[in-house]
Amino acid sequence: MSNDPLLQPYQLKHLTLKNRIVMTSHEPAYPEDGMPKGRYLAYHAERAKGGVAMTMTAGSAAVSKDSPPVFNNLLVYKDEVVPYLKNLTDAVHEHDTAIMIQLTHLGRRTRWDKGHWLPVVSASHEREAAHRAFPKKAEDWDIERIIKDYADAAERMKAGGMDGIELQAYGHLLDQFWSPLTNSLESPYGGSLSNRMQFTFDVLSAIRERVGPDFIVGMRYTGDEMLENGISPEEGFEISHRLKASGMVDFLNVIRGHIDTDAALTDVIPIQGMANNPHLDFAGEMKAATGMPVIHASKIPDVATARYAVASGKVDLVGMTRAHITDPHIVRKIIEKREEQIRPCVGANYCLDRIYQGGEALCIHNAATGREQTMPHTIAKADVSKKVVIVGAGPAGLEAARVAGERGHHVVVLEAANVPGGQVLLTSQSERRKEMMSIIDWRMAECERLGVTFKFNTWAEADEVNAEKPDVVIIATGGLPDTDVLAKGNEHVVSTWDIISGDVKPGKNVLVYDDAGDHAGLQAAEIIARSGAKVEIMTPDRSFAPEVMAMNLVPYMRSLQALDTTFTVTYRLQALEKDGSVLKAHIGSDYGGISRVKEFDQVIVNHGVIPLDEIYFDLKSNSSNHGEISHDQLIEGHPQSVVRNSEGTYQLFRIGDAVATRNTHAAIYDALRLVKDL
């Protein structure tokens, strides 16, 4: 047997977990009608197959009707959930993986204009910044019905074949009762710590009465709110001791921090560029103090850190949650001594930021995640090996190369630069976002393993491509910044890439005009602001940088606000006039009636890219399909069979930003779904 600390079994009550790596609760927002149906099941089954010891399903599954989902959570207050759970738990158990589920009442962390339009309830009228609802203060009958709702839900979970449940108590109703900041009730549920914890113990007692002493029940809770007058670490330790002393709790899943603002949430679940495992020591202290089984997750994205977390005895079970969103087969690769092949989580947080915008969780660089029913995590070999020539070694081109390599094709990649990466190279010029390069590095390592040939410093023209005698040509050349947005004065504009690459030095008084709203605008703004210049970010939209999304915005704001950047929304830059060294910016508004002039010495425009598509059009006429991609075949997962030119000697496809400005995920998804059927 292996002596890897991560691969040792763990006994949790009667349940033997086969190793130490778990996925903590995370709602990927895949439920259909609030139920875990096929997509949900396929997602968890793939990870069970990959060897994870336990998956904590759901994430904030709603026990009550007045806890309407904020990101398409499971509705476990409905009896109809049980058969779906049965299918889910069976599918996971088949791989000898344990499965549990997190239950919650969100309290004030939701909205009243959802679900049944019931008022939001909490232990005070304090509003939560993130969801904006002003809550009703719970009355006796609210408390009674919610206690019963928890117990009913727990019973359903047991009936659905779950190995256990976990109650969420960080930012949700249970700890809204705990925290002096959000509990203004009188006795018996307000006041002293005992009173503030009473609701939790009432819930636990009701659950135990229903599910018995053997069913596993854990608590995921904050042991330190890190807020003035909130739950202090001392109180957190006291809470932990009392949870243990109650005898009703089987494990502690330790969190540190609070989540009522985007910034606070980001400190609890850090993203790329922030420190790894920031709360591991704290979790270890909780374990040392209580001797309870402890689970903990918070940016432990790599196996080495996970191994340390377990080997050092700080935790019993280590959560690698986003890491599993990126690679479902982590444990299997550890067992098979293929750790270096694990697709790394780069902390882009695309998964989490999307669910807070009402989308489903998707991985920035694994397009099969959440699409297990149609997209493979393991690529099968093709029956016939083809010669595939790919132009461009950015994310789209490299994903195409990797997948074509897995298919067993003979792959050649032509790249103009002397290094791979495309636009990710620009991204990684930001110290904070260097982790993004792993998207490229992992693919390069996989391509090397698969025998893909690279030709760098090669500006491919039709001749270079034809010389390879391809069966299939994939154009993944990306684009160049489009800055032609003004009625007059476009020649005075500098692109975000000019700034990020260092080709143009920042000015002193700079306008960053951004209607693309993606990372490039903020990245350029940050470089300029750091050089000491005065920066104004302007957008015609109602909010700035919408594509960056909530948690990704946090590090930018921390940096830009400290550098005194101005944010201007709802104004449109119309024209520029040069007057000596001064640029006169003519500014209007889509709302009409505005015409202003403001002076700058440099104006940056962020407006996406224009495809670099010359080679595509040069190759089009001699291709068999004239570049056409059948959308039906693409969506249904059939090989492309369009023929528009029977003389054509190769199929031609275009992917990523070489078609139109999108993002990294779109580029990679383009590549995967086309090439998997090649």
């Binding site: 103009a416 002397n418 040939t453 690279f454 760098f456 410093n457 500006w459 080709d503």
Partner: protein, 254 residues
């Protein structure tokens, strides 16, 4: 004042070299090749001198097969002005021959400063700059960490030496070789890669330079090439006492 920078196409520093099965050298088939990192620093320095108004033109020269044009294009994408490719075919040529070729070009181009990498990461010779300086009878500033052109005929070169830094004042023209800490080379952006495609690269042969073909013939004979011994796995010791015991009794170093 023109700056001449020599750039060599070498195995990429990220690649783990594999030996040819006959032991005659490193297998370069299908291996990623790049500009020698010290030469990249040299290119960057020349471009910075040009940006500072100290240098009027940055000319790159590479010696080797036609593939070395890629290496020149890399430097042009960073911002150099033009390139000269001295086509000597495939065989590796030795530092003395390289120095003689560079001498010929430095003279015909009438450059004010030659900047080369202190060594190439493939053969680690660390000889070309010094030989070139002797052949030209120009002063040399090797292992530079600062290059500060004072006037049309003076340059201050700070060198990294054992135990500290030494600053030399050299008469121009001079030869400078770059050390790691001289600068951090810039990122070659796609727009600049596109611009570099249009920059001129003249291709010359040894004959064009008035040099005899035979003088690039190797003077050294490679006897054999061997991979370093595979490192043995280490062991973990429980405490300091065990460590001392092992150092004394097993390693015999105490």
């Amino acid at each position: 004042m023109k700056a001449l920078v020599a750039v060599k196409r070498v195995i990429d520093y990220n690649v783990k070299p594999r030996l040819k099965s006959d032991g005659s050298g490193v297998d370069l088939t299908n291996v990623k090749m790049s500009i020698n990192p010290f030469d990249e620093i040299a290119v960057e320095e020349a471009i910075r001198l040009k940006e500072a108004g100290k240098v009027s033109e940055v000319v790159l020269v590479s010696i080797g097969s036609s593939k070395s044009e890629e290496t020149i294009r890399t430097g042009l994408a960073m911002g150099a002005d033009r390139g000269i490719l001295v086509n000597t075919g495939d065989p590796a040529i030795e530092p003395l021959a390289v120095a003689k070729i560079l001498k010929s070009i430095a003279e015909s181009e009438q450059v004010g400063i030659v900047i080369v990498g202190k060594q190439a990461i493939d053969d680690d010779c660390n000889q070309t700059g010094q030989m070139l300086s002797a052949l030209l009878d120009w002063p040399q500033g090797t292992f530079a960490s600062v290059v500060d052109i004072q006037s049309a005929d003076k340059v201050l070169v700070t060198r990294e030496i054992d135990g500290g830094l030494q600053t030399l004042e050299l008469d121009l023209p001079a030869v400078v070789t770059t050390d790691l800490r001289l600068n951090e080379p810039r990122f070659a952006s796609l727009p600049n890669i596109m611009k570099a495609k249009k920059k001129p690269v003249s291709k010359v042969s040894l004959a064009d330079l008035g040099l005899p073909e035979n003088f690039i013939e190797p003077r050294l004979i490679v006897q054999k090439t061997e991979a370093p011994e595979v490192r043995q796995a280490g062991v973990k010791v429980a405490d300091a006492a065990e460590l001392i015991d092992k150092l004394r009794n097993e390693a015999g170093v105490l």
